[in-house]
């Protein structure tokens, strides 16, 4: 068996850059200064946002260096990332998932300008919405919001 190339040692894969805050963030959680656990939920988007979640975990962004991790269950999460506009049958599972979140928690809504189906989650009257991204374009937008929520200056 060949050894895997550890390219990260020779060439730095993680990008050195500033993440300028995109949009507005309504709450800053001082208790999440050291780590933030995220749980993404698809509420009926066209699968493009789900692929972006994979892109968000790529070595270019290296989220772990900020203490940002993806949780495997909403019960272990600090932040719920709601992806897309809500499809009617997903409204109840979304509420159930929010009920599972331990307090204090925040919710970030992510939508694209190109979305045409479903209704905006904001219309469901959900509490604890920390940020609302209306025109998602690239992962850096979300990272800037996570960092702000954690009270980190970047």
């Amino acid at each position: 068996m060949k050894w895997w190339p550890l390219l990260g040692i020779k060439h730095r894969l993680t990008e050195k850059r500033k993440y300028k805050l995109y949009g507005k963030v309504s709450t800053v959680f001082h208790s999440f200064r050291k780590s933030l656990f995220i749980y993404p939920i698809d509420v009926g988007n066209s699968n493009d946002m789900n692929l972006e979640m994979a892109a968000l975990q790529s070595p270019q962004y290296n989220l772990h260096r900020f203490g940002i991790y993806f949780a495997d269950s909403p019960r272990h999460a600090d932040l719920l990332l709601v992806l897309g506009r809500v499809n009617e049958p997903m409204a109840v599972p979304l509420r159930e998932t929010i009920n599972q979140l331990p307090a204090p928690y925040g919710i970030v809504l992510v939508e694209r300008e190109s979305d045409t189906e479903g209704t905006s989650v904001i219309e469901l009257g959900i509490e604890n919405i920390a940020a609302h991204v209306k025109d998602y374009r690239e992962p850096a937008q979300l990272i800037s919001i996570f960092l702000k929520l954690m009270g980190k200056e970047n």
């Binding site: 068996m1 060949k2 699968n47 493009d48 692929l51 994979a54 070595p59 049958p89 599972p93 190109s114």
Partner: protein, 413 residues
Amino acid sequence: MSEGSQIIVADDGRVALRDSLKEENIPNFEILKNRDSRIGSDEVFGDGVFDFRYGPVTSGFIESGSFHIYTYGERMLAVNIDLSTKHRGIEKSCVGLPVTDAVRKVENICGNFAFSHSVAYSRAVESALAIKPTETTKKLRVIGLELERLYNHLFVATRLAGSAAQKVLNAHLLYLFEEALRVNQLLTGSRNLKDFNSIGKAKPLSTESFGPSIESIGIARYQLSRIQERLADLYGRSLESENFMDRLHETATLNAERAVAIGVTGPSLRACGVEFDLRKSDPDYPDFKVVKMEQGDALARYEVRCLEVMESARIVGRMLDSLYKLGAANVHPVDIELEIPSSSGTSVGVCESPTGVIATYVEIKKGTIVDLYISTPSLFGFAAMREAMVGQIFTDFPFALDSFGVSFADAAR
């Protein structure tokens, strides 16, 4: 489209519509009939067997669809798929819209096949209304389709490596995946190629906001060759990793006969040894080589996809080279305002998406859509997957699911 009629797509891209067929003459009738709500309705009862519901909110797969898995201990005895939470009824909501407005809605059927869906739809509308796309448009569409195949296949490889706990391979592939999305952004202005194609024309490459176009083509060309090079290296290494091979080899095997009966197309069919690819006889693809494997298991599908990434990078690279040589004037063709005639017509458009053939049937009356029916590859992919999973243990579930490259959004529409 009237009930009981069937779209048949031949190997060379020819399409036939057959009317008033009898149920028993269509082998995949059951799948097509319930395509809005579920795939499969097998039930298994007995001591120790229970119906395990997986989804729509789980960390195993992110999409909002669900599986009903009848398990006995670790072994899966039957798998049914529930599409109802993802069904958005996009086809119906397009009825009554002008043909140009529906393109953006059709793209939202499946975000990661957005370009393929819009191309299949545009081809249907163009043939129904007798609109002839220009040669540049045809070239740009080939570039879009191959870029889409490239990032989707990389995503599947990433998922497989992640499920097999190959952390290093997973990280390297994720790196390439993000690079591929950035190439899309650089060339088309959108990471998932949305809003790049429209009826009769495609947008010129790299819009002004992304710098001088000819430079960005050079950068994209370099990035693609790097992706191709690095994937070739990673692919070779992954085939030597016994751990990884052990997880994929003979997992979720599909045989060619069943694959054809279900209606599977794309890499999953080519991995069973069937040489079916619409690009083979497409004049826009000169000297195209079909990639195929014989075994029909998850490993064969992984191999087909990895080899296709390299083939796609080669095709796009060559096209970008020819555009680069022609100079900036040809990359930025004058934006012709295309007249969409408000006439009537009926036609079918087909396209080879990353996961298989998309066939779009459209009926137009005075420039507005009267009927739209879209046959998506994921529906058949899911149907094949649920058959291939039977008898496997639950640990094999992610390999079966990811290796088919299917998505709920595409299957449920």
